[in-house]
Symmetry: C2
Subunit: 136 residues, 2 copies
């Protein structure tokens, strides 16, 4: 079990956009170079973020991606869910009802992690990221 690289790319891109000028569009070319990943691949990932309403895109010259106005409320969990989906980490094909101890524990465990990630929002990082000149 691992977080996908796509999630990694998405997180880095979001963090970079937070640190960058919020009103200017930034091309996928530049974003991809920074992370040593193919532009077309990153594009597919960012399109998911667009559809999830976190960023907006503009075609044509001087186009690219930028944060939406409501970016401060976006959480790590939002980004992860946009890329990896929202399905439960633990799946059994059956549903043996409320007596199932395993699902009870596993779902609650996942919930612990998600609660933490839900409370880590872009706004929390905004100040820090400007100061520290993020590396990637």
């Amino acid at each position: 079990m691992k977080f996908s690289k796509a999630t990694n790319y998405a997180l880095h891109t979001m963090l970079f956009l937070v640190a960058a000028a919020p009103d200017k569009h930034i091309g996928v070319q530049q974003l991809a170079e920074r992370q040593s990943v193919s532009p077309t691949y990153l594009s597919k990932i960012l399109t998911k973020l667009v559809k999830a309403g976190m960023i907006e895109s503009a075609s044509g010259a001087n186009g690219g991606y930028r944060l939406k106005r409501s970016w401060e409320d976006i959480s790590f969990l939002d980004i992860i869910h946009a890329i990896e989906g929202t399905a439960s980490l633990f799946d059994c094909d059956f549903n043996h009802g409320p007596d199932c101890l395993i699902q009870l524990v596993m779902v609650e465990a996942e919930d612990e992690m998600e609660t933490y990630l839900k409370n880590k929002k872009m706004s929390d990082l905004a100040r820090t990221v400007k100061l520290s000149k993020i590396s990637l």
Copy 2:
């Protein structure tokens, strides 16, 4: 990102062994049938649990698997780690030092989940599982 089926099988087997007679060996055949999985495949999974010191095996007639004496202290996290390994869920190829906000958050998030799973021990389930006649 998903927990593997192997982890699912391991958890179910452990739970079953906890509910079963603790001194008697139980063959992989029986354990596999219960979960509709190939005996040889389940065998490989259970061997990992043996090597992790959670259960012990016996070859030959009337052989099989049974819990070790210290079973009560075994946690969900122990089982998961035995099957899936202990590597971090989030991996980037670089290490950009303590300024890295992303790793900070992701590692802490994983830690939240692991702490919960570490505190869910077999002993906590022992009483409940006997009462409720587990379904699988």
